[in-house]
Symmetry: C2
Subunit: 172 residues, 2 copies
Amino acid sequence: MLVVLRLGHRIRRDKRITTHVALASRALGADGIFISGEKDAHLLEGVKDVTGRWGGDFFSEYRRDWKNIIKEYKEKNFMIVHLTFYGMPVQHTIGKLKGENLLVIVGGEKVPREVYYSADYNISVTNQPHSEISALAIFLHCYSDGRELEKNFENAKIRIIPREREKMVQKY
Amino acid sequence: MLVVLRLGHRIRRDKRITTHVALASRALGADGIFISGEKDAHLLEGVKDVTGRWGGDFFSEYRRDWKNIIKEYKEKNFMIVHLTFYGMPVQHTIGKLKGENLLVIVGGEKVPREVYYSADYNISVTNQPHSEISALAIFLHCYSDGRELEKNFENAKIRIIPREREKMVQKY
């Protein structure tokens, strides 16, 4: 299992970014996401709506108490991974994480020092500034060795049939 | 060479998303980005500022006439790739693109039909809804076989030294 924890969501500033974090988590094989920071019912509805239509059993849940989430998942023997551009390169650390259950923490603007210390691994996807969305995407891709791209989403009401030029949508 | 073309930027709605697209392009090995849609001087300044401080020679440029960009790059024998969740799976098509010069088109909200037809390849990173940022990230990662993660950025004024828990920044 792999669960994402998004810290420090701010409704006004982060709505689209956090939505993209959640949808990328789902599309790229995570089992669910906890969103912390400001409570944003509209965002959660949007993600649940995507899951309802596009299938699979991705969960998305607001939790203010992110410290407890970390504690709970440590107790369940999940490895705690924090994605940060200060951390150790993903390409050198991912080998230790494959096959493990992971809680993957994606920070917001200011990540408390405590997160760096409660994580088992602080991992960087390049040490350059880019985006928590691209960092998470590459992390998930490396973790699953590309198999996430073949994931099947059960009970979808809508599905794309890949085509070279046309848009082909199948509805059930 | 690999150049990104971002279509349909809208200042109010897309500022952060397009910034992330640009920074992910830079961090993950693209040579530059053209931004089309609404002209957003502030966004371009931000990206140029990152390049100035963090190094490398990534270019970022506003161009209204995206059709001409496609034409110019076709004439330079670049392959035109359009990332869309309607397209053919990246994992089955990337092999044809390695070693080629690419113009990679990242759409906005509504992509004109013409883009699908002027692209040599319409490529999907999963056929699920997620994010142009995560799609681009995985595309660039697959294109470079992970070597983009080792890219060196010349003439940086600031650099992160990867650490397991601390934040270590080196300034020049």
